[in-house]
């Protein structure tokens, strides 16, 4: 091997550095560049010249500076202690950086992603003499109050356990077991490393049958995402992508949440860090941070690290999936990631395709979203990764390349609408432009949980669609020329919008909505529609329906009754029925019935 001293920087242009004396280097090998030892990755080789993508600021880096090869690809550290953590794009722990220096991130700082001194209580589940195959669990560690961490044999390792430690406290690097494999004895530790650009293997893919419940009505009830599915949230600025992502991170019923803040605002990550430790998981009552990992590569952090942050995140997700858990990956925003690809490709002088993006953009997007799925893991458990990617189309124009290509590889489309956002109708997911291909997959689950779901959903969407057409007419001639039967549709659609589709992320009772309550609210509004339609056909004026005392209560029901107060909703439903009965009675017998 060539002596290290011969590898030297030969040129610098922003995050792209060229080096000579790199004949032995491998593609995607990690190198340390310059006196500060900036972390970089070899992305192109030409003779003994290498192009290096550097993950830190290269100011004052000079030709002739040393380049040190590490011989290993960029890898993530896997093991207990990841949960509750917040990392930058190359898995440097941000709290560690803060403790190490000060509030500012300086180039060249190196800190282990996991604490090597901390001891974890390990309980072996296998004994000497047992066979251990790849992905199978050796033992477990209570990582947080919420999550049991399984220590697994890494992919590729199969053999017979020669010895295993007793239950007790061990560090990440302590040997836990010795396994006799075909290639000789191997030691197993809690700490494992995995190359960041390589997907972790699985046994097989499974069909998606269960929804990923988010507690958000328009998503769960109208455009559901399956556990193991993919969804995209496109929206111009100010339409609420980030708030929607935060809501999903807070309330999704996945066991592990991976939030990748990719090229977004620093304060948004701070907000998550402030809120999550205090928020409780609605199902277990534990702090949400115990199931959450944050990757924060904000917009002003180096762009190359933004490119890799997506892979760092998805690898951590796959590691927990391999333990048989359901994981939700929330990436905000994949457009910034695509822009990082574009910037780096331009520096490498690659031939650009649409709008300057590299021709490989669709492939890269497809590869990323294909890492979602419901699977049988190597160890035989059922795990899943769901991916929700936010997209920030320039000018809010969904025809741009990132939105278009993402659409091809995802099956759920939650289109955020500027006009709705302007009216502070949140979440501003537009019911006519959005779709979900998981409706059929998860219908059976819903029907079991809340009978009548499918009919209610279809009726709701049909009503909203008819209302949109009526609005076109209203725009031209005003609402007064419409007959009451059509004005009823407009009236009910307004109720649906205000009483069901909008959801206040900051209201204690409204921020999360159980599937049972979602269906109950929907049934309440549609009951008014079905009965109202009959009454209007029999001659009751719409004004009488509008002035029912239940109507305003119905509008506020979403924030009046919590999930635990379902009887309040049932009571309201009875009172509505009673009022409608009275109307019908008056219609049939009253003196004004012929009016």
């Amino acid at each position: 091997m060539m002596p290290v001293g011969n590898s030297l920087v030969s040129g610098v242009s922003g995050p792209t550095v060229t080096a000579i004396g790199m004949a032995e280097a491998q593609m995607y090998e990690v190198v340390e560049v310059g006196e500060l030892g900036l972390i970089g990755e070899v992305v192109r080789l030409l003779g003994d010249r290498a192009t290096i993508q550097v993950y830190e600021d290269t100011t004052m880096l000079k030709p002739g500076a040393p380049v040190r090869r590490t011989g290993a690809p960029l890898s993530v550290w896997l093991g207990p202690g990841l949960l509750g953590g917040i990392y930058d794009g190359i898995q440097r722990p941000l709290p560690g950086l803060l403790a190490h220096s000060d509030a500012w991130i300086r180039p060249g700082e190196k800190i282990d992603p996991l604490d090597l001194r901390k001891k974890w209580n390990f309980t072996p589940l296998l004994r000497a003499g047992d066979t251990l195959s790849a992905g199978q669990m050796l033992g477990e560690v209570a990582e947080t109050g919420l999550v049991k961490h399984l220590v697994m044999a890494p992919p590729g390792l199969t053999g017979v356990i020669r010895s295993v430690v007793a239950q007790g406290a061990y560090t990440l690097e302590d040997s836990l077991a010795v396994v006799t494999t075909a290639a000789g004895p191997r030691e197993l530790r809690m700490l494992q490393k995995w190359p960041v650009r390589v997907a972790r293997p699985i046994r097989e893919r499974l069909r998606i049958t269960e929804p990923l419940l988010t507690g958000q009505r328009i998503i769960d009830a109208l455009f559901p995402l399956g556990k193991g599915g993919t969804a995209v949230i496109p929206g111009g600025f100010g339409t609420g992508k980030t708030i929607t992502q935060h809501q999903l991170a807070k309330w999704s019923d996945a066991e592990i949440i991976l939030f990748i803040g990719c090229g977004e605002r620093g304060n948004e990550m701070t907000e998550v860090l402030r809120d999550f430790p205090e928020l409780q998981d609605p199902r277990s009552g534990r702090p949400l941070m115990e199931r959450t990992i944050l990757i924060a590569n904000t917009s002003n952090m180096p762009v190359a690290a933004r490119e890799v942050s997506i892979y760092t995140g998805i690898n951590l997700a796959e590691y927990y999936r391999d333990m048989g858990k359901s994981v939700a990956v929330l990436a905000d925003s994949t457009s910034r990631w695509a822009e990082a690809l574009r910037e780096l490709a331009a520096r490498l002088e690659e031939m650009p395709a649409e709008e300057g993006f590299p021709a490989s953009l669709p492939t890269r997007l497809a590869q990323f979203y294909e890492r979602a799925g419901a699977v049988t893991t190597l160890g035989g458990a059922r795990g899943s990764i769901s991916i929700v990617g936010a997209v920030s189309p320039p000018g809010g124009d969904f025809a741009e390349p990132v939105t278009q290509h993402t659409r091809r590889f995802t099956r759920c489309f939650w289109a955020l609408d500027t006009e709705l956002a302007n009216a502070r109708h949140y979440p501003s997911i537009h019911w006519l432009h959005s779709y979900s291909e998981y409706v059929e997959d998860v219908s059976a689950w819903w029907e079991q949980k809340a009978p009548g779901y499918r009919a209610l959903r279809n009726e709701t969407l049909a009503l909203l669609q008819r209302e949109e057409r009526l609005q076109q007419i209203i725009k031209l001639v005003g609402p007064d020329v419409l007959p009451d039967s059509q004005r009823l549709i407009v009236f009910i659609a307004d109720l649906l919008k205000d009483g069901f589709l909008t959801q206040n992320a900051f209201d204690e009772k409204d921020m999360f909505c159980s599937p049972e309550r979602q269906v109950a609210l929907l049934r309440l509004i549609l009951t008014l529609y079905r009965r109202g339609k009959e009454l209007i056909e029999a001659g009751t004026p719409l004004a009488k329906l509008r002035s029912l005392t239940s109507v305003p209560r119905l509008l506020r029901a979403k924030s009046t009754f919590s999930d635990a107060q379902m009887d309040g909703l049932a009571q309201l439903e009875r009172e509505l029925a009673k009022e409608l009965d009275e109307l019908a009675h008056a219609q049939a017998h009253g003196p004004g019935s012929q009016a």
Binding site: G11, G261, P394, V477
Partner: protein
């Protein structure tokens, strides 16, 4: 051009001759021991020094961006000296009350500030973990901002404007009036001018002087007649100053950067001179990252007494909000104040557009304990109703106002009242937040209670005093 006042000790090699000069770029061959982003002094034929910085470096040559323009430079006679460090600004609190040029050199005839504290103008990213979430309400005394798009300390909230709209007057009013409700002292002002006209700069200086704020302000002016590349450094210089004042001296700083569109155009100029692959409308593909490296230098830091609040003015070419500059800015900043030409033409000052304006941090800075308990619901309700007004106006244009339903006519009245009573105010009128909220309720009371879905009964009981039902 003046001789640099803070030239470092003589060191580094001097080179004579360039192989190529193109736009703002100079290509110098066979350089040694030169770093990326290093500062370069270039001696022009007239004997003046110009500053530049290294954009690209290889074993054979360096690409230098000349911040003061390349006009008059000649390939053979050009002399360049590499200073061995990246661009640094001497910072000290004594710089308050002073005016500097776009590169941080005195422009008011005064002496160069003495300071041994030199800071890299590129700054460093703030560790997100070290940030403190901004939530202290700033009262600007402007109802459209305080009531509906409230600003908090540490926020970055730009003004999206168009040519001819009164963004400078609005910014000046914010500078004069902004402060926390219970505090008397205002902000320390850092002003960065990029490519604006002399009389606009003059207006801002006069505003600061007349309001007595000049003593607490530092100005960095790179005006329209200054070389356009210089502008690329001006906001960085200003923000470096702001960071020193905020995080080393514990002051609350309000940074005004104007006009960001000029800054972006300079960036485009350099990009195209380098032969880069252009993105949308010819702007470089890294425009987002570059803007983020400026806007993200706002905020609060845990444990530091001071803060940086940013407001930037950008003029939208042809009032187009989807133009790359406002578009990418909107994706980075925490909301935007949008000025509306139609309101302006109807004589309403400040012409702040109701619907597209937004403050993302408002939700955490208003309400009980911050402004008043009714504030969030009131703002949300005003937005919802105003959105409906827009629809009714569209309808009225088609069928005529007479044929509108009585309810829709009410909405028109409400819209008019909102614009004339809430939005409209004097340039020197400083409304306390309580007054702003009271006007909001007064306007909302023009609508029947049934229409106000976002207001709880308890709040309505307390504040709403309108007609219960339509006839």
């Amino acid at each position: 051009m003046k001789r640099l006042d803070f030239t470092v000790e003589d060191h580094g090699l001097q080179y004579t001759g360039a192989s190529r000069i193109e736009g703002p770029l100079v290509f110098i061959e066979r350089v040694q021991d030169v770093g990326y982003d290093e500062v370069v002094e270039i001696l022009d034929p007239a004997g003046h020094l110009r500053l530049g910085r290294v954009l690209e470096i290889s074993q054979t040559h360096a690409v230098v961006q000349v911040l003061e323009g390349t006009s008059g430079l000649a390939t053979r006679s050009l002399r360049a000296r590499f200073l061995g460090e990246s661009f640094r600004l001497p910072v000290s609190q004594n710089m308050l009350g002073r005016i500097f040029d776009g590169l941080g050199r005195p422009a008011d005839g005064g002496a160069a500030p003495l300071s041994s504290d030199l800071r890299d103008v590129n700054g460093l990213p703030i560790n997100p973990v070290a940030r403190r979430y901004p939530r202290e309400f700033i009262q600007t005394g402007i109802s459209a901002i305080d009531g509906m798009n409230a600003l908090v300390r540490g926020q970055k909230l730009p003004i999206f404007s168009g040519n001819g709209l009164p963004h400078d007057r609005l910014a000046a009013q914010i500078i004069r009036q902004a402060r926390l409700v219970n505090e008397t002292a205002g902000f320390v002002i850092v002003f960065a001018a990029m490519g604006i006209k002399h009389d606009v700069a003059e207006f801002h200086i006069r505003n600061l002087r007349e309001s007595g704020a000049l003593a607490h302000a530092v100005m960095f002016l790179s005006l329209a007649d200054a070389p356009s590349v210089e502008r690329l450094l001006t906001p960085r210089v200003a923000l470096t100053m702001a960071e020193h004042l905020a995080f080393a001296c514990g002051q609350h700083v309000l940074v005004l950067m104007t006009d960001m569109t000029n800054y972006c155009e300079s960036l485009r100029e350099v990009g195209s001179a380098r032969g880069e692959i252009p993105g949308r409308k010819g702007y470089p593909g890294y425009l987002y990252s570059d803007l983020a490296s400026l806007y993200e230098r706002a905020g609060r830091i845990e444990g530091a007494a001071g803060s940086i609040t940013q407001t930037a003015i950008l003029t939208m070419p042809a009032d187009d909000i989807s133009h790359p500059v406002p578009d990418l800015t909107g994706y980075i900043t925490e909301g935007q104040i949008v000025l509306d030409r139609e309101l302006f033409q109807r004589g309403i000052y400040p012409p702040i557009a109701g619907l597209p304006s937004l403050s993302r941090l408002m939700k955490d800075g208003v309400g009980a304990g911050y402004t008043r308990a009714d504030h969030p619901a009131l703002a949300s309700q005003l937005f919802a109703c105003y959105a409906y007004v827009k629809r009714v106006r569209g309808l009225a244009d088609v069928i005529g106002e007479e044929d509108l339903s009585p309810l829709d006519k009410r909405y028109l009245q409400f819209g008019e009242a909102l614009e004339q009573r809430l939005l409209r105010q004097g340039e020197h009128e400083n409304r306390p937040i309580a007054l702003t909220l009271d006007i909001g309720w007064e306007v909302l009371s023009l609508l029947p209670r049934d229409e106000l879905h976002r207001v709880s009964d308890a709040l309505a009981q307390q504040h709403y005093h309108g007609a219960e039902l339509l006839a």
